[in-house]
């Protein structure tokens, strides 16, 4: 039997012999390369954090605008609002612990683990790339560039909405929590100062609520962009957050 496979593709013997690969497939296979970008703690944090924020936004919305009154049983035996608030606080604590863990990993992990925390605003090339990516989203350039970590636009969004946004939500959230925990409690010792600074906690509530909407807007854009990039860009995204590997779809430079 003669081997029809070109010599440089002989290494994919299994695919060829089981018949699940066409010559075109094999050609692409050769060109594809992948980089290990997101280590497991980053990926774990991403999904835990995403889940926590989803729970926080839903329960938080319902804290300010509660569900219609329910008459399941006597007030003593009914705890609807109580459970909603409990879920919020529990998710808030997971978010907090997770974020500190993520900061720890920024120090311990690879360079991509640090990307979210620093914006290279003095780097002119970075600014150029931000606008380039923006042009890609505005359909003004036919093709995006390749990036190993976050693309510059995503990078900026993650810095403002997540790094700063989560910090803001944690600060305001814990200051609100300190109100219920009471003066002299641990949350109060750490975050009560914010309450003193702002004065009327109604303002704090509304700031926290504004924060929720900024999170919601980020998530809408983020999930859309992640899926869109996965399909339309020259690199993988969603699977990158699952496996950690960034695969590139072509071997052309930039």
């Amino acid at each position: 039997m003669t081997d029809l496979t070109p010599p440089h593709l002989r290494s994919f013997e299994a695919s060829v012999l089981t018949g699940d690969a066409t010559p075109e497939d094999l050609e692409t296979l050769r060109k594809r390369s992948s980089v290990y970008v997101y280590e497991s703690p980053v990926r774990l944090w991403h999904w835990v954090n995403a889940l926590a924020i989803t729970v926080l936004a839903v329960t938080g919305y319902l804290i300010g605008k509660p569900l219609p009154s329910m008459q399941i049983s006597e007030a003593t035996h009914q705890f609807v609002m109580g459970y909603i608030r409990f879920a919020h606080f529990a998710a808030g604590m997971i978010l907090t612990v997770g974020f500190f863990g993520r900061i720890y990993w920024a120090f311990m992990g690879n360079s991509h683990a640090r990307q979210m925390f620093i914006l290279p605003i003095t780097n002119r090339r970075w600014w150029y790339e931000v606008f380039y990516e923006l042009r890609w989203y505005m359909f003004l350039v036919p093709e995006p560039k390749k990036y190993v970590g976050h693309n510059p636009l995503a990078h900026a969004a993650m810095f403002f909405f997540m790094t700063l946004g989560i910090t803001f939500m944690m600060l305001t959230g814990w200051a609100l929590y300190a109100e219920g925990a009471g003066q002299g409690s641990l949350p109060d010792t750490f975050m009560g100062w914010l309450l003193g600074l702002i004065g009327n906690s109604q303002i704090l509530h509304m700031l926290h609520r504004f924060g929720m909407w900024s999170m919601v807007i980020f998530v809408l854009i983020h999930v859309y962009a992640a899926i869109r990039e996965d399909i339309m860009s020259r690199q993988s995204t969603v699977s990158t957050m699952l496996s950690g590997h960034r695969t590139f779809k072509d071997d052309r430079p930039d």
């Binding site: 009154s69 003066q183 009560g192 004065g199 906690s201």
Partner: protein
Amino acid sequence: MTQIETFYEVMRRQGITRRSFMKYCSLTASALGLGPAFVPKIAHAMETKPRTPVIWVNGLECTCCSESFIRGAHPLAKDVVLSMISLDYSHTLMASAGHAAEAALEDTIQKYKGNYILAVEGNPPLNEDGMFCIVGGKPFVKQLRHVAKDAKAIISWGACASYGCVQAAAPNPTRATPVHKVITDKPIIKVPGCPPIAEVMTGVITYMLTFDRLPELDRQGRPAMFYGQRIHDKCYRRPHFDAGQFVEAWDDDNARKGYCLYKMGCKGPTTYNACSTIRWNEGTSFPIQSGHGCIGCSEDGFWDQGGFYDRVTNLKAFGVEANADKVGMTAAGVVGGSIAVHAAVSALKRAQKKQEKAEG
């Protein structure tokens, strides 16, 4: 200078019996959250200490603080405290008037220099050199500075003195300014509320007179024993909040059942005061008990926090007033819509590209 009387002597002179005096001591101890062991201590302090005079001045205000004060739930406490206060100068309560009153004020300042407590009801407006509030022919801010100079400590009565209240609400045309922003070199204790609860007022004064120091204050300078918790924390309707049972409209069945007023804009969850424990008018009731939400009168800038009947209120940021939900939902809607359009265009472009490729 004549020997200054002790508190006890003043009280006896006012016709208060020893028995009433002891009752007052135990009442005060419990009102301040002190154990029974403190009763003899309070009594002893009262018997041996020279009384501390209190000068009470009034700026831009409505006199609701005075009105509240003289309606203390425990007449005993009120009488005793009133007898302790030098009423030589108090617009509402003093006997003299005109020049005689102003002279009496000067007398008290001279006699007790550095020893008296200054109680301020209302606040000074600063615009137009303070001409929006004239006392004895001079701007109130002048009188305030003058009296404060030799005071040992200052009590800011009510929302006016503590935060500014309605006269300081946006746009604050007279630039009404809370006391602590005018007098910065004296210990100031804030007793906010519109008005503050009578028992809170008498309790604070008694504490300061007996122990010769300010009670423990919270971050905003309010006595922690009365302003340490929110209305919400001790509200008798709290179980309905936790259950998720709310008044949905003023005339609905839930209102009759006494459900939680959260959805009707009750500010109990953001208001630090003792209304839900001490209550008003001899412990008769308080707003929530009578079916109306708390309006947050003891909080900073409560006039400017949007509607009294809204739970999610407007926020003034960067000079614009905005409601988190309206702004947020609109923005999310716009973003969501844009994403849909963007996705459609993306799909189209992609199809186009594929076709071009196919056509070679």
